[in-house]
Symmetry: C2
Subunit: 272 residues, 2 copies
């Protein structure tokens, strides 16, 4: 069976709209990009549409080279009218961390700045990486994490690793295993899991024989094929387990969480 993401999405959306009305000021998200390809431009258009729907002011800054990108990020970081900064990725020829390091941690609404990542290790993050947070919110909405055997397949800096750390936090207390390309007996490990998170970016990574009956499978994969976007989880898994759909699953929650973070940043700026 597929998990219906819509109710959670609506809850978060309503929460955002309520907070914005309370704040009673213009909230601005700045998106920064460098030589965007078609997919990136498309992503930015959808992001703009969502921002405007929620009443968040939205601007795109397109840099033509590395130096300009960095100076835009620095300027936006010190601009009091900007509350959140989003950077498209991957950035051609630039290491993700270099760009992220130019953003003020207080406006790092994607939760990718090393300082925010470190605060996550302390369980005291102001912003968590949006995709990892989306997975946690989806799980908390439908199951009890304490003591659950969770297997995360994928060890990326923005999903697999922070997600593992977040699931270990005392108020969640899952037992967490992180697997990847070098893992032996992946099938044996995932078959024992109460929850499998597929976050490796590989089509058909998780097949029906790899999951336990009635387990939960969260599909973080976004793979472009001739037949559209597909996840990391084979559709047949949905006959055996509860699965989040792709598209319209984790990705959908991730984009609304980013907006939630922009509002959070604006609230904090109001307080200080």
């Amino acid at each position: 069976m597929y998990i219906d993401i819509k109710p959670l999405w609506t809850t978060i959306k309503n929460n955002i709209i309520e907070k914005i009305s309370t704040l009673n000021k213009t909230i601005t998200l700045a998106a920064v990009t460098l030589k965007p390809d078609d997919a990136t431009q498309n992503y930015l258009k959808n992001q703009e549409k969502l921002a405007k729907k929620l009443g968040i002011n939205y601007s795109v800054y397109e840099a033509i080279n590395r130096n300009q990108l960095f100076s835009i990020l620095r300027e936006l970081s010190s601009d009091n009218n900007v509350h959140g900064i989003f950077v498209t990725h991957p950035l051609p020829g630039i290491e993700e961390m270099e760009a992220v390091n130019m953003i003020s941690p207080e406006k790092d609404v994607e939760g990718r700045h090393p300082y925010n990542m470190g605060m996550l290790m302390y369980g005291s993050e102001f912003f968590a990486p949006c995709t990892a947070e989306a997975v946690v919110k989806i799980l908390e909405d439908i199951t009890k994490l304490s003591g659950a055997n969770v297997v995360v397949v994928g060890r990326s800096t923005t999903v697999g690793k922070p997600l593992a750390i977040m699931l270990l936090r005392r108020d969640r207390s899952a037992t967490v295993t992180v697997c990847h390309t070098r893992t032996r007996n992946l099938q044996q490990i995932t078959r024992n899991a109460d929850i499998v998170i597929a976050a490796a970016g590989k089509i058909n990574l998780i097949t029906s024989d790899m999951v336990k009956e009635n387990s939960i499978v969260v599909d973080v994969g976004i793979n472009v094929t001739d037949n559209g976007i597909v996840g990391d989880v084979n559709p047949e898994v949905s006959e055996k387990a509860l699965v989040t759909p792709v598209p319209g699953g984790v990705g959908r929650i991730t984009t609304i969480i980013l907006m939630e973070h922009v509002v959070k940043a604006a609230e904090k700026l109001k307080l200080t």
Copy 2:
């Protein structure tokens, strides 16, 4: 059987002495404490002894209250004659993170500042938490980590969590499971492990029936008893697996790694 830590310790020590002779300047480690108890004072004395043996200048700053502690940390952070800052822990009445946030990340030789922790998530850390690094160095010295099933028991911010992240790094590529008090079937999980890391601070946490024949068990525990310091691993485990001793195991490597970090900090200060 017990693992002999001495050769690794000697290698690191010789490496430090060689680097100090190349640097040809006074290298200073500042230790900061607040109302130290007997155990803390003892720890500082041993640290001083080791520093002096290596030719590292060593001073202790004893604060009498919170404000003074924070101002000492800020002053030392901007003092060009100080290369590394060590803070004793736990600090009575002060959250670890508050104190660590007062230290310049460049002098955070314990690798506990959120910025350094976040860089660890990116696999680009300048300083890793010393105990976690000690465990990694011990393992890299005696085994191949790629594809190994490693179980970490304990999810602390300075050992369990950063250690899991470090073991996942591509040049190591272990499959990592983090267990804790809420874990169900701990025995079943550890029995499947090639390597077990006991880092929960609980006497007899790991017993013989919990480990696989010929596996490796790293004991991070430091538990004070009437019969002296004991680890988290029951001595009988050493009949079945390769075990690091306590005392004289991980703790011994941890203290020398801290000194290695001080030298690394001094080298960087020279370059910039």
